[in-house]
Structure formats: structure tokens, C-alpha cells
């Protein structure tokens, strides 16, 4: 990972004053167990948010509620002013602006890398095949593996598969990118190649919410770091104050545990 570049300054020029993502009093229960408690959050365009916390804190659940892979029971999830509701078609329409990268990659193993990328543009956006393919190739170049286009997912290494997954999400030109522990399933030597792609994506101005344990990445890229514990947001701060001077005892305990090695 490139550590020579100075950490990003906090120059926030908001193109619009309305948040792209708004969580208002959102609560979610699994059965009778409350896993998210009254989450309030605003994310503005171009912001990079890193979410961290111990396992079971609800960070994955929260990010999956943002694109309704999990359905919340109370409160609102509002994307660009439109709230998710009971209308399935409307929900699909809202979801188009959000791309997601999973911990387990979830590439389609029976399709080639190129076909993985072009499937959604062709079938959802009705793009002609050659246009979709050139879009896919340009994105494969952006994630630096254009030569793997005709291979199949199971023939690639973990790091390559995750980069393909990022490119696949980008093919739909989303406004927001969600990352659910993108490097947790990777061998250590492959983590950096994926983080480099994510840094380049961040530098290009993409609105990103990343759930991760990679604290160096947070320092480098994040505008705000969110710490969650037991279903609540405990602390939100820019990376400098967050890592150097956390305000809450919980946050300090967590940081001491993960930054120790």
C-alpha cells in the first residue's frame, strides 16, 4: 500500500446540501433480538465512510440495510431523497444507484469474468453487447487485470476475484459503493492489491461506505470513521481525532485491541 502520500485533507465541497444516504431512527430485529438500535446517519456525496467495530456490533447488518438486502422494521432508509418502502419495483429502482462488494466476492462461477461484468448492463440497462464489453474491458483495466477477461472466476486468485467483483459493481455506474469487509476473506499478500483499487476509487470521488478492519486504509482514505458496538453508533470522527484521541471508553478499548499487533 502506498503510504508515502499524505493523508487526505478535509476539503469537503458539497455539491448539494442534501445527504445522499440518510438513516433516520432505523432499528432492526432478528426475531426478537434487536440488532440495530435507532441508527441516525447522514452521508454526503463524495464522502468516504469507514465503519468498524467488534463482531456482532451490527455493522454488516447496517450496511446491508442501506441497499435493503436486509429489511429494517423501524425508521427510514432514504437514498437521494427516496425512501425504501413496500413497492418492490421502486426499491429495485432505488437500488440501482448503489453498488455492493461482498466479503465472499459472490462472482458467478459458470460465467467468464467478462460475462460477469456485462450481465447486468446487458440485461438491466439494455446495453448492446459490444458497448457493454468495451465498458467491461475499461473497468478491468482500471482494476489492473484486463488479461483475465476470458478466464473463469475459480481460475483466479482471491485478490483477483475481489477486483473483478469491484469492477462488476462499477459497470452499473453507481453513485454509491458499499463494501462489506472486502478483504477479510483474502490471504494477507493479496489484501494490498484490493486496497489499492479502493484507494484509487476513493481518490476519484466515489461516495463509499466501507466496513473493514484495515485501520491504515481508514487513516489514508476516510473522511469519517464510525465505531459501532452492540447495534449502536458509538462514535463518529475524522480519522485523525478518531485514532489519536477517541472520546469514549468503548472506542479506546476496541482500538487498543486491534491496533496492538
Amino acid at each position: 500500500m502506498n503510504t508515502n502520500v499524505l493523508p487526505r485533507e478535509q476539503t469537503k465541497s458539497k455539491t448539494s446540501s442534501r445527504p445522499v444516504i440518510e438513516l433516520v431512527g432505523m432499528s432492526k430485529w432478528f426475531g426478537s433480538f434487536q440488532v440495530l438500535k435507532d441508527i441516525d446517519l447522514q452521508v454526503y456525496e463524495g464522502e468516504r465512510i469507514v465503519v468498524c467495530g467488534p463482531s456482532g456490533s451490527g455493522k454488516s447488518t447496517m450496511i446491508r440495510c442501506i441497499n435493503q438486502l436486509e429489511v429494517h422494521q423501524e425508521g427510514d432508509v432514504i437514498i437521494n431523497g427516496e425512501a425504501f418502502g413496500n413497492d418492490v419495483a421502486k426499491n429495485d429502482h432505488i437500488r440501482r444507484e448503489i453498488g455492493m462488494v461482498f466479503q465472499q466476492f459472490n462472482l458467478f462461477p459458470h460465467l467468464s469474468v467478462l460475462e460477469n461484468l456485462t450481465l447486468a448492463p446487458i440485461w438491466v440497462k439494455e446495453m448492446p453487447k459490444h458497448e457493454a464489453e468495451s465498458l467491461a474491458m475499461s473497468l478491468l483495466e482500471r482494476v489492473r487485470i484486463p488479461e483475465q477477461a476470458l478466464k473463469y472466476p475459480l481460475q483466479l486468485s482471491g485478490g483477483q476475484q475481489q477486483r473483478v467483483a469491484i469492477a462488476r459493481a462499477l459497470c452499473m455506474n453507481p453513485q454509491i459503493m458499499l463494501f462489506d469487509e472486502p478483504t477479510s476473506a483474502l490471504d494477507p499478500e493479496m489484501i494490498n492489491e484490493v486496497l489499492d483499487v479502493m484507494i484509487e476509487l476513493a481518490d476519484s470521488g466515489m461516495t463509499m461506505i466501507v466496513v473493514t478492519h484495515e485501520m491504515n486504509f481508514a487513516r489514508r482514505v476516510a473522511d469519517r470513521v464510525i465505531f459501532m458496538d452492540q447495534g449502536e453508533i458509538v462514535e463518529v470522527a475524522p480519522p485523525g481525532p478518531f485514532f489519536d484521541n477517541p472520546r469514549y471508553d468503548r472506542t479506546r478499548l476496541f482500538l487498543s485491541q486491534i491496533l496492538h499487533h
Partner: protein, 455 residues
């Protein structure tokens, strides 16, 4: 940029204490019985319609069956005519089944000899009880003895008649086996020692080296065997020909022999199919593929008509034996494929590790490979057993009086003329309960074994 994130004494009074919110109960419409029903039964219009249709189907089916079998049924009557006079065809006539119960279970076995069948099966249960008792360590040996040695004992219980020298010795072996099982169980539970070691101690050999102790142990077993032999020669049971075996008893005998034969035979065939020796591989593969490609009924017919031809002129082969041979070979072929699947699922590393330890083929197979293969395939093996139990119904087609044939005989009795549905229903229930319980047991077993693999 400070890298220190340890909590220092300076920081402690600056840290704010986080007060977590209390968990609230979930919205009532999403949990509890109401919530469950909303989600699973009535979540939308089409789901509600499905629930109504489903409820209607369940209601009509159960009310029809229960009305016939329970509410309108006749429980006491002397003949079918009486039943028909009482309820006509709208209710079941159970007295017929009750009257024929002994035949359904024991076939045409002489009524006053039926206690032998009961005793024989009781002996089997008593033989395997130690498998569930704590502190018994010889469980594997007890299990294997139940499979290999119990049949000798049971054979005399069921057949009786004149015993030649060989049979006498085998029956004595059976009695000895039974005695050994319980002696070992008792000594292990009480003293933690198998019977042979215990006797070695009793005879004053506890201080002596291993070989001497073993000799003393074997001597005690020989002593038990001699006692058994003396008892067996005095023991006389009336002969009951296999022609008179029938009903559930016959079904259990055929399935039991089939199951006990198919597992070891299947193991041998599976190993043969994977062998490096071309001739053995070809022979095993041909046998397995041949017996798996054809229906069981054709094999039953084949052995029924052709086994007498294969044996020397004049040798009489009783019909039960022909059916048993057919069933055993058929089951062995299917079991072989199941075990081969298990052998293939074992990572190559296991074979290599066994080789690296210097174990020969048979040692590595019996100690390392086969136990793992069997453990992986236990659910499928039990499934095969269940299938075999169901397949024994086919012997009714070649004229053996198994449970199915017996149920048809009820309706041909003049007192219960035409009573076919009730015995048939009863027999179906027996099969269903047996097979369902066996499959539930296998699911349980799978879960228990899998738990051993979870961290």
C-alpha cells in the same frame, strides 16, 4: 501523529463513558405467534390463498382417513359380515386384523413354538444393549460379534431340528459369544477390565507378562466354550421348516441377513473396484454394474429358476435360501457403490500419510481409511438399509409369505372374506413407522457425528 492508543492514566478521566441504549422489544406485528403467522402464512394475497387451499386439502384428507380408521371403525366383531352390518364400508373392520395378528407377525409358525422367535429376538436385543451402556469399552467387538456370531445362535432358535457336528459347534460358538458379551459388560462396568483380563487376574496372573495373561484369558474362554458345548448338545428344539416362516418375522430375517451380508461384502467389492490389480478390478466392476443395472425382481426370478440348475443334480435348495442369496448379492452391489463414494471422498493425504507410516495395504485400510469412509457414508448406508427393508416386499411375488402376502391371506379367510384394505393399511403403517424411525435415527446420527467435526 502519535501511534500510541493505549489508555493512559491521563486519558482515563478524559474518556467519556458510553451508555448503551436498552434493547427494545420488536414491533408486535413482527414477532410472536401473530408475527410468525403473518410472515409465514399470510404475508401477501397469494400466500393467503395458498394457506386456504392447503388447509382445505389437509382437512379433507385427514377427516376422511380418521373417519374411516377411527371414528366410524368397528373394534369388536366376530366376522366381516358383522362389521358390514354395523357400519358398511364407511368404517374399518379392525377385529379381522386383530384375529390374524399372530399370523401377520409370525407367519405359519406353529403357535406353541412362537416363544422361540420371541426369545431369539430378545437375545439380539440383549446382545446389543451393552452398546448403550456407559463404561463399556469393548463396544466395537460387541457390535461385530452381534453381526457375525449372533446368527448362529438365532439359526437354531428359529429352525430347530437335528444338529450335525458342525452346526453344534457353531451354535455353541453363538452361546459362548452371548456369554462373553455379558461377562465382559459386567467386568468392564465393575472393574474396568474385559472378561479375559479379569479372569487372568482371578487366576493369579496379574503380575505376569502380557503373553501369559492372554493365555489365561483364552483358557477361560475355552472353558466357557466347553460348558456351552455341553449345554447345546443337550438342547433339543422341534424342527420348523422354512416353509412355515412368514409375516413380519420372515421380512425381518431376510432384511437382517441382507443387511449383515451387504456391508462386509460391499466393502470387499468397493476395495476390489479400486484395486490396482486389473483382473480384480474388472471382476468387481462387472459384478457391481451388472447387479445395479437390472431390477431386483429379475434377480429374484433368476435365482428362483436358475439356482437349482447351478447346483449338482438332485440337490434341493429351499425357496427362502434362493431369495436370500438374490437379496444379499443385490444389496452388496449397491453398498459397494456407497462405500466407493466414501473412499473417494477421503483426501489423498490420508492414503499418503498411511503409506509414509509404513503401513501395509490391509493395515492402512482397516485402521485408517475404512473407518473414515464408513463414518462419512453412514447416512447413505442407513438409507441403503431402509431401501433393503422396503425391497423385501418383492419376495411376495415369488411366493414367499412375507408380511405383504400375509396381509392378503386375511381377506381369503372365510370368516373375514374380502377384508383387504384394513390389513393392507395396517401393514403399510408398520413399514412407514419402521422406515421413518430409521431415517430419523440416521439424521440424528449424522448430526452427532458432524458435531465432532465442528470446532
Amino acid at each position: 501523529m502519535s501511534d500510541s492508543t493505549l489508555v493512559t492514566t491521563d486519558d482515563v478521566d478524559k474518556a467519556l463513558v458510553f451508555k448503551p441504549k436498552d434493547a427494545r422489544p420488536a414491533p408486535p406485528s413482527t414477532v410472536g405467534v401473530i408475527g410468525w403467522m403473518r410472515n409465514n402464512l399470510f404475508s401477501n394475497v397469494s400466500n393467503t390463498l395458498l394457506t386456504i387451499v392447503g388447509a382445505y386439502i389437509v382437512y379433507t384428507f385427514f377427516s376422511a382417513v380418521l373417519n374411516w380408521a377411527v371414528f366410524n371403525a368397528v373394534w369388536e366383531a366376530e366376522s366381516r359380515r358383522e362389521c358390514l352390518d354395523l357400519v358398511g364400508r364407511s368404517g374399518a373392520c379392525w377385529p379381522g386384523v386383530a384375529a390374524w395378528m399372530e399370523n401377520l407377525i409370525y407367519g405359519l409358525y406353529p403357535k406353541h413354538q412362537v416363544w422361540r422367535i420371541n426369545l431369539g429376538f430378545l437375545a439380539l436385543i440383549a446382545w446389543v444393549i451393552p452398546l448403550w451402556l456407559p463404561r463399556v469399552k469393548s463396544k466395537v467387538a460387541i457390535g461385530i460379534s452381534a453381526v457375525l456370531i449372533y446368527p448362529f445362535l438365532a439359526s437354531y432358535f428359529f429352525m430347530g431340528g437335528n444338529k450335525g457336528l458342525v452346526w453344534t459347534l457353531l451354535i455353541a460358538l453363538g452361546v459362548t459369544g452371548f456369554a462373553w458379551v455379558w461377562l465382559t459388560t459386567l467386568t468392564e462396568m465393575r472393574y474396568g477390565l474385559p472378561f479375559t483380563r479379569f479372569m487372568a487376574g482371578m487366576l493369579g496372573a496379574s503380575g505376569k507378562p502380557q503373553e501369559v495373561q492372554v493365555k489365561y484369558g483364552r483358557f477361560s474362554m475355552l472353558f466357557v466354550f466347553v460348558i456351552a458345548l455341553v449345554l447345546v448338545t443337550q438342547w433339543e428344539l422341534q424342527e420348523v421348516q422354512t416353509r412355515q416362516w412368514g409375516g413380519l418375522f420372515l421380512t425381518l430375517v431376510i432384511s437382517g441377513i441382507g443387511i449383515t451380508f451387504s456391508l462386509p461384502a460391499g466393502i470387499v467389492l468397493a476395495l476390489g473396484r479400486r484395486s490396482n490389480m486389473p483382473l480384480i478390478r474388472i471382476l468387481s466392476t462387472t459384478f457391481i454394474e451388472l447387479f445395479r443395472s437390472v431390477p431386483l425382481i429379475t434377480i429374484l426370478f433368476m435365482f428362483n429358476t436358475m439356482l437349482p440348475l447351478f447346483l449338482p443334480v438332485g440337490v434341493e435348495v429351499n425357496q427362502l435360501l434362493r431369495a436370500i442369496v438374490a437379496v444379499c448379492l443385490f444389496a452388496a452391489a449397491y453398498m459397494a457403490e456407497v462405500i466407493r463414494g466414501g473412499l473417494q471422498a477421503i483426501p489423498k493425504g490420508q492414503y499418503e500419510a498411511a503409506d509414509a507410516m509404513g503401513l501395509g495395504y490391509w493395515q492402512s485400510t482397516t485402521l485408517i481409511i475404512m473407518p473414515q469412509a464408513l463414518k462419512i457414508m453412514i447416512p447413505t448406508i442407513v438409507g441403503n438399509f431402509i431401501g433393503l427393508f422396503k425391497d423385501t416386499t418383492l419376495v411376495s411375488i415369488i411366493g414367499l409369505f412375507d408380511l405383504l402376502s400375509m396381509s392378503r391371506a386375511v381377506g381369503e379367510d372365510s370368516r373375514w372374506l374380502g377384508l383387504f384394505i384394513e390389513p393392507f393399511f395396517f401393514v403399510t403403517m408398520i413399514y412407514f413407522v419402521f422406515c421413518f424411525l430409521m431415517s430419523q435415527y440416521s439424521i440424528n446420527l449424522e448430526r452427532k457425528l458432524a458435531a465432532g467435526n465442528q470446532r
